[in-house]
Amino acid sequence: MSALLEIRDVSKAFGGVQAVTGVSLDVQKGEILSVIGPNGAGKTTLLNMISGFYHPDTGRIALGGRDVTRLAPSRVAELGVARTFQNIALFKGMSVLDNLMLGRHVRMTSGVLKSFVYWGLAQREEITHRKRVEDIIDFLKIQDLRRRPCGSLAYGLQKRVELGRALALDPEALLLDEPMGGCNHEEKEDMARFVLDVNEEWGVTIVLIEHDMGVVMDISDRVAVLDMGAKIAEGTPDEVRADPLVIHAYLGEAKTSGNGGPRG
């Protein structure tokens, strides 16, 4: 097994708040790795550092052996890292088809001059990539939504389109930030099935942030647990479930704080 993504000792602080502290994590090629933890544990910050949106204060991140710590987000995307967002970040004014075609932006090359003329090279390129996008549309079963503006779609469908946009990049690694957050039971099952299919059929490595423990324990190969910016456990779902530190992070607060609620 070779690590596709190596995260070594990364830390990130925002002002006085230490969001992530010395986290190291290896993501193996072809696995589904879930990152879990209470709210504010630094999961999204970790994802943001991988995709180049933030740069870590210390530590380094490598993708397939190549250092990507300081690269701009667009460069990281070109290297094959796609992601979805916790609060859907679709281009709402544009159609589903355009959103997916945008997902292929880094795979296309038409510059200004080719686009001026369109007929010929640019059109041929559009059609080649349209075929790939149509495969994804079929896979996600959103054929009837092609021309709909994304803003008008139901929440669960928007999540699905966003997954499609990320897939359109033909990613090596796919970072999913709560793809099932706010979805109903049926939508969650669909999404879990898509994630598994993407992983098995297309061999895409997946880093998943998710709060639904049922789903996480079901579909993950390995699970990493963050709490207050630090990694407190890592292992198979069964190992993590039995880890006393994890139990403490999730349930310990309720016993000591006295007001009964888990940390929010």
């Binding site: 038409s110 686009s115 559009e126 349209r130 075929k131 149509e134």
Partner: protein
């Protein structure tokens, strides 16, 4: 009844991605464009061509330019007048220095000069957005006008400070200068705006247009999926300024005949911005509709009382014209904030079903 797409199946992605995928649209546009080339030069008189149709086409080209930048790429600009001035003064300098060069080529080269200037003034867009960017582009407007006023080299040291369109021919026919006929000027303006609109449409339906809209809709998500913000925004500024530059050159060479910097002051920037907003942000058709609205409505308001046999004092008429024009702008923005292009689109949707309600 007439506007039905039933039975038109597309069997290739190429056909599905055509500019006008519906057959009726395609024919309609072809007929309109063909008519625009043939009918006005034959039937319209000097006044209509020179005072109405030529400025309409010139401003439509500028509006397309600004629409690419503001409507598609989401970068608000108030520098349009300045970029148009760059085009006009470049065309003047180029054609007086190299009289033998074809004037159409001079227009395009002037557009390139304007594009270069636009790129420079687009650099702040990486850091600032929205209203703040508008203020930054205002700097372009004021600086460029100041520059053309201050440096006599730009007007070839003419004491009047004006630039004048010299006589230039295309294929042996005079198209600019005092002796060029109105139909010829009209055809040049129409040819350029038709080509410009087609190129703009090609740009916005492909990779570049999508990256502009991505930056407009959500710049952070755009960056994450691999759109490079700096290149994308600068490209929008460059191409937009190219269009504005060509339009500025046309404004002097085909419409005004001679001009000073006053012709390119801040009111021009606002005028083109209003065209884009009223016509429809993010729509090539909207650029034409907006230009037509802003140019035609005041003219028809001026002529309306005369047409129905009413004689009013000119001063009073002018006041009425301004009031009604302002009222109409408000009315259309309230009825359809997305502009005339959206109204057109809604009309077409209704027409698909007509005469049935559903």
């Amino acid at each position: 009844m007439i506007y039905r797409e039933a039975g038109q199946f597309k069997t290739t992605y190429g056909a599905d991605q055509a500019v006008f995928p519906i057959r009726q649209d395609r024919w309609f546009v072809l007929v309109v464009v063909a008519a625009a080339f043939v009918v006005p030069p034959l039937v319209a008189d000097e006044y209509w061509l020179q005072a109405v149709l030529i400025p309409l086409l010139v401003y439509a080209l500028a509006a397309i330019g600004l629409n690419l930048l503001t409507g598609y790429a989401g970068q608000l600009s108030l520098g349009t007048g300045g970029f148009m001035a760059v085009g006009a003064y470049s065309a003047f300098k180029l054609t007086t220095a190299f009289p033998q060069v074809n004037i159409i080529l001079v227009f395009l080269l002037s557009g390139l000069v304007a594009a270069g200037v636009g790129l420079v003034f687009g650099i702040p867009s990486l850091r600032i957005k929205g209203f703040y960017l508008a203020v930054a582009t205002l700097a372009a407007q004021f600086f460029l006008i100041w520059l053309f006023n201050k440096v006599p080299w730009f007007v070839n040291y003419a004491s009047s400070g004006t630039i004048t369109a010299p006589n230039r021919t295309v294929l042996g026919v005079l198209v600019t200068g005092p002796n060029a006929t109105a139909p010829m000027r009209y055809l040049v303006a129409l040819g350029l705006v038709a080509a410009g609109a087609l190129v703009a449409k090609n740009l916005v339906r492909g990779r570049i247009g999508r990256s502009w809209m991505a930056i407009r809709d959500r710049d952070i998500a755009a960056e994450i999926i691999g759109v490079r913000p700096l290149q994308t925004k600068l490209l929008a500024f460059g191409i937009s300024s190219f269009y504005c530059g060509v339009a500025g050159a046309e404004l002097v060479f085909l419409f005004l005949g001679s001009a000073e910097t006053l012709a390119f002051d801040i009111t021009q920037s606002f005028l083109v911005l209003f065209m884009v907003i009223i016509g429809g942000l993010g729509s090539i058709l909207g650029s034409f509709l907006g230009a037509a609205f802003i140019i035609l409505v005041p003219i028809s308001l001026t002529n309306a009382p005369h047409a129905v046999g009413l004689t009013l004092p000119v001063a009073l008429l002018k006041q009425f014209e301004l009031m009604i024009f302002g009222g109409l702008i408000l009315f259309f923005l309230i009825v359809e904030p997305h502009g005339l292009a959206r109204l057109w689109q809604i009309g077409k949707e209704k027409l698909r079903l007509w005469p049935f309600p559903h």
